[in-house]
């Protein structure tokens, strides 16, 4: 990020993560103490197949700037 805070837009991202892989990867990131913006919200699911379009729209409607489906 540049030093100019005026342009420092940090989007809120909702990430739907498969419990078996992407969620596990987020865990590993934690174990390794990597750093990422706190505006990422992770929601674990049994499978990314479970993600309904409605969930994605609902997240955007509720103010998320982006939605990531990872699995």
């Amino acid at each position: 990020m540049t030093g100019n805070d005026e342009f420092a837009f940090e989007p809120t991202i909702v990430a739907f993560c498969c419990h078996h892989c992407a969620y596990a990867a987020a865990d590993l990131a934690g174990s390794l103490r990597l750093n990422y913006p706190e505006s990422l919200r992770i929601i674990g699911l049994p499978c990314t197949g479970k993600v309904d379009v409605v969930h994605i729209l609902k997240a955007l409607e509720d103010g998320a700037d982006g939605v990531m489906v990872a699995g």
């Binding site: 596990a24 174990s31 499978c47 197949g49 479970k50 993600v51 309904d52 997240a59």
Partner: protein
């Protein structure tokens, strides 16, 4: 000597020892534990996982091992991987892991061994270690990190991999450790005890499985390749670490000399294999080098130059030929057929200059920026010592000696072997071996199976009885919130008192507290006490990962009578405190939001129960060849009934036409032995002339209809009930080729199988042959191309026989790649020594048959001399592709299981579940999976039996739980769920008790016993008629607290109130 708790039944040990905690040992231990035997898993390093834990990706699907559950990344992956039963808090109650341990003595005999194990101190109590990492931080000793292949350093206080099992640090107290004691001082939980002493442990077991794995070849002695002198000449294992996302460069491939990304990489094959020192083929290097080259292209862009210097392309498993094609066509990886004779370094740039003779014989010098040596596999270091201690034989190469027809038995009864210790092997074959060896143990200890019972009734494994569950359905939610400080790991980043101050105001919250270590006994006891004190019926715990700690806390609340689904574990450690240290102000806010959503979710949680089913203790085995009979015998010998179904008149399958094998054993003796044992076994009913025409039900309770043709033309249909099904329908040598079907035009052309018959029955004819040309890799026109795996060895076998009978016969083998992998390389060498000529062709110029006068000639373009040759031939034996058995299609449809593009049955997962189908309770064995040698079919059949036996011998199956539920009132019968379900479980069936929208007679029906709980149907259902239990729309969207993206604003507003 300190004895372990003696766990014996009837005075005999109902236990087994598995030596080696790699992927093979882990798999074998799980199968044995599931069968109710106590397992001691002995591993010499501080954690499980072995070699596979160092690999970032597996060929050919490039599944990252990350989500496939190895030691590198935790074992939490439930479905595609090994098992969650290696997670510390969900450890299989029947597995005892002994790390830092070696066996030092073995006495006794099959069924009753006494084993002494020496366990070196870990100096850290895994029960108390919270992985805070303080010990490593203060440790002054820096050491090369062997896990990263010495590309990075670690401390003497260390954890082998980011995630490990046991998930704990260890202290490496070598000479370099000066006992400064800083780690012991700083450890916040007192887990470190530097004065710990080695233990000598006595174990009483009935059987032993050796899963020692392999070690990689050290190329330092090959001076001409410059390994060790030139920094940019790498060992393949070093490259694996560089390409791994958990490696020292996080997957960035860079040169060791200058950290620059190489623009060109060369792989040199057969380093330490197929040479004078190690004559055998290491079997896996062609595939892994191709994987590494594809990874290089993916990481560095398609313009990077990747060249593999190869002898033969040995891609002999399902989808592997396609993988090579993809490497060549899509990624433009060059394959050059030669051995590189020398590598020189350009000292200015660190580049490497390769010298080799190309196929035309021209001497080439070529520059590459990196060279990777595709090193071969060698027997493990400990093999010699262990073999002596155990009194087992090693073969001439130093690997464990096994017999072709008993591929998993060592020379000592009761001691079995799996994986690369018996011959170089890849992951999937190691897994097959491991389960197969477990089946051998189950057979041996058949009277002791199920001695140590456990249950999967709950989302955690348990072997104890728990108090009855409290009925909370009529109660209003009473939530307790607990936040774990985890020493200071969480509390030094997140302001926990602030979190709890806010939490106290949330609806339904009765109590909120900070706990020091929630996962310790004192922590869980405290939670239990509060549940009772405040009559809580929902719990939220802010602590660490769901993947590691869900089972612990689910068990905690279940122990005081709460349903285990009435808890939300919030990962404020790995997914909050640990990753947002740089944003101290906002991390507390995020923790509050996470806790708030969890509280919203837990209020909506309802108790979830699995359904209990009993398993019908009978197996159905389809196919009466070597695989089917081996599987049937393994199951029947272990005490369960078997229906063995064979379509033909006789049992035996392909074995009926096999007269000798390359290794010299007698297949007809094996056939007689198997048939006699099957026919006389009181637990096996063999149905010949029979096919399965209907199959329904779920794991534990299937029904099938067997259609039997009688000799008089009549038939009967028999209905049977069974608990598991094993598909062992085999394969066949295809015949559909114009050379064979036009016998009058090409009478000289026969199959290799026919040649084998001639060698046995018409030796006179063989003796009269002057010139013979054998053609490899012939397949029916229009059929997909793949390596049939067994033909090359089979051809060598026949070629050697022919040459022995008739040394003057000029024998030429026309081939694409000689695939004599493993120790079979010796037959290739033997054939060459006998004077057999080899001519290589390529697909672009396949061999032709031409007739000059009366004489048939094989016209082939010789790649070496670049010229067409006409080879006269009295006889042209061809190796036809091995295809699936006829009827595989129909059977796949009846069983509702998938087929691969080649027409073989498709397993659940290529690497880690090669004997399972996605559909639970159905297993796969032998050539129905892919062409296989006899020994491989036997191992596969035993593996399928090992997966079936724990189900058959268990008293209760618990199925269901988190499953998709259809609301028939809303179903419009659109079939979306039936199309999207990856397991083909939803069905539209007419049911009297259900109607859909508009009186629809057939709403969707999802069998809870089969549903895998992925929720795909729920996500796709356009009528919103399907909900996934525990993940309902309301639980996902949380309207009551403002939903998914607006917690922040919502919570601020609430706080402002």
């Amino acid at each position: 000597m300190e004895p372990l708790r003696s766990r014996t039944a009837k005075g005999q040990p109902a236990a087994a020892l598995v030596v080696g905690g790699g992927i093979g040992g882990m798999r074998a231990a799980l199968d044995l534990a599931d069968a109710g035997l106590q397992v001691y898993l002995v591993e010499q390093t501080p954690c499980l996982g072995g070699r596979v834990a160092q690999l970032g990706y597996m060929f050919p699907q490039h599944d990252c091992v990350l989500c496939r559950g190895t030691a590198d990344h935790g074992f939490g992956c439930t479905r595609p991987s090994l098992s969650p039963a290696y997670i510390d808090h969900n450890r299989h109650p029947n597995i005892e892991i002994l790390t830092n341990s070696r066996i030092v003595g073995v006495e006794g005999q099959a069924g009753d061994f006494s084993v002494s194990v020496r366990q070196n101190p870990r100096y850290v109590d895994p029960e108390l270690c919270t992985n805070c990492g303080d010990c490593a931080r203060v440790c002054p000793v820096e050491l090369p990190d062997s896990y990263q292949d010495n590309l990075a350093t670690r401390k003497a206080a260390f954890k082998l991999a980011g995630r490990a099992a046991p998930d704990s640090y260890a202290i490496d107290k070598g000479d370099y450790c000066d006992d400064c004691g800083k780690c012991q001082e700083i450890c916040p939980t007192g887990a470190i005890n530097l004065s710990e002493q080695p233990r000598l442990i006595g174990i009483n077991v009935g059987a032993i499985i050796l899963a020692l794995g392999f070690q990689t070849y050290d190329p330092s002695s090959l001076d001409e390749l410059g390994y060790g002198r030139f920094r940019n000449v790498l060992h393949a294992m070093t490259y694996e670490r560089l390409a791994s996302r958990s490696g020292p460069t996080e997957g960035v491939i860079s040169r060791l000399s200058d950290q620059r990304k190489p623009r060109s990489i060369a792989w040199l094959q057969c380093i330490g294999s197929r040479d004078r020192e190690n004559k055998y083929c290491s079997s896996i290097c062609c595939m892994y080098a191709t994987k590494e080259a594809i990874l290089a292209k993916q990481r560095m862009g398609e313009d990077a130059v990747c060249t593999v210097f190869i002898m033969d392309e040995r891609a002999f498993n399902k989808e592997y030929s396609k993988y090579f094609e993809q490497a060549r066509e899509t990624h433009h990886i060059n394959y050059v057929r030669c051995r590189v004779s020398a590598v020189q370094e350009d000292p200015l740039t660190g580049d490497l200059i390769l010298q080799y003779a190309n196929e035309r014989g021209e001497l080439i010098h070529e520059r590459y920026e990196m060279v990777v040596l595709a090193t071969g596999l060698q027997p493990p270091d400990s093999a010699g010592e262990l073999a002596e201690m155990l009194d087992i034989e090693l073969n001439e190469y130093g690997f464990c000696q096994t017999d072709k027809f008993t591929p998993l038995q060592t020379s000592r009864p009761g001691v079995f072997v799996c994986g690369a210790f018996s011959s170089p092997k890849e992951i999937s074959e190691t897994i097959i071996d491991a389960s197969g060896a477990a089946a051998e143990v189950m057979r041996l200890l058949n009277d002791r199976l199920n001695t140590f019972q456990f249950t999967r009734e709950w989302p955690f494994l348990a072997n104890e009885t728990l108090p009855p569950e409290r009925d909370i359905t009529a109660q209003s939610p009473r939530v307790g919130i607990f936040a774990c400080s985890c020493g200071e790991v969480i509390s030094e980043v997140i302001d926990l008192p602030e979190v709890l101050r806010q939490a106290a105001h949330w609806p339904n919250v009765v109590v909120s507290e900070v706990i020091d270590y929630a996962c310790f006994m004192a922590g869980t006891d405290h939670i239990k006490q509060k549940i009772n004190e405040y009559n809580l019926n929902r719990v939220v715990i802010g602590a660490c990962s769901n993947r590691t700690h869900d089972p612990l806390f689910q068990r905690t609340i279940r122990e005081v009578g709460l349903n285990p689904y009435l808890i939300e574990l919030v990962n404020i450690r790995e997914q909050c405190a640990n990753v947002h240290r740089a944003q101290p102000g906002r991390v507390t806010q995020k923790a509050i939001e996470l806790m708030r959503t969890a509280t919203g979710r837990v209020v909506l949680a309802q108790p979830v129960h699995k359904d209990m089913h009993s398993c019908h203790p009978t197996a159905l085995v389809i196919g009466g060849g070597v695989s089917g009979m081996s599987a049937a015998l393994a199951i029947a010998d272990s005490g369960c009934d078997v229906h063995l179904v064979e379509r033909e008149d006789m049992l035996g399958g392909n074995l009926l036409n096999l007269y000798y094998v390359a290794e010299g054993y007698q297949p007809q003796r094996l056939l007689r032995d198997l048939v006699n044992r099957v026919r006389s076994h009181q637990r096996i009913v063999a149905h010949t002339r029979t096919e399965v025409i209907d199959h329904r039900g779920h794991v534990g309770f299937f029904q099938a209809v067997l259609h039997t043709r009688h000799l008089d033309g009549s038939f009967t249909n028999t209905e049977i009930e069974h608990g598991v099904t094993i598909v062992a329908t085999g394969g066949r040598e295809t015949q559909e080729h114009p050379w064979l079907t036009n016998a009058e035009v090409y009478p000289e052309v026969i199959t290799q199988q026919r040649l084998e018959e001639m060698i046995i029955h018409e030796p006179g004819q063989i003796a009269s042959l002057r010139e013979v040309v054998m053609i490899q890799c012939v397949r029916p026109p229009g059929s997909p191309e793949y390596c049939s795996r067994v033909c090359c060895t089979n051809t060598m076998k026949n070629a050697i026989r022919l040459k022995l009978f008739n040394p003057d016969c000029q024998l030429t083998i026309v081939y694409k790649n000689i695939v004599t992998y493993g120790f079979r390389e010796e037959f290739y060498e033997a054939a060459r020594k006998l004077g057999v000529l080899f001519v290589r062709y390529e697909d672009s110029q396949p061999p032709l048959l031409v007739r000059h006068g009366n004489r048939l000639h094989v016209r082939v373009y010789d790649m070496t001399i670049k010229r067409w040759l006409d080879l006269p031939a009295d006889l042209v034996p061809i190796s036809m592709a091995i295809g699936p058995a006829k009827g595989a299609n129909a059977l796949a449809e009846i069983l509702r299981v998938p087929l691969s593009t080649e027409g073989f049955f498709t397993e659940a997962q290529m690497k880690l579940r090669p004997m399972d189908f996605m559909r639970e309770g159905i297993f796969l064995a032998g050539m129905a999976h892919y062409p296989k040698f006899i020994e491989e079919s036997i191992s596969h059949a035993l593996a399928a039996a090992a997966r079936a036996l724990p189900l058959l011998s268990q008293q209760a199956l618990h199925l269901g739980g988190i499953v998709a539920v259809v609301d028939p009132e809303k179903c419009v019968g659109c079939l979306t769920c039936t199309r999207t379900c990856p397991f083909a479980i939803p069905q539209i069936v007419p049911r009297d008790d259900m109607t859909g929208v508009g009186g629809l007679g057939s709403p969707a029906y999802i069998d809870t016993a089969q549903c895998q709980g992925c929720g795909t149907c729920a996500g796709e259902c356009p009528a919103n008629a399907i909900q996934l239990v525990h993940y309902t729309d309301e639980q996902m969207m949380l309207h009551s607290i403002g939903g998914l993206g607006s917690w922040q604003t919502h919570i601020s507003a609430e706080v402002a109130k």
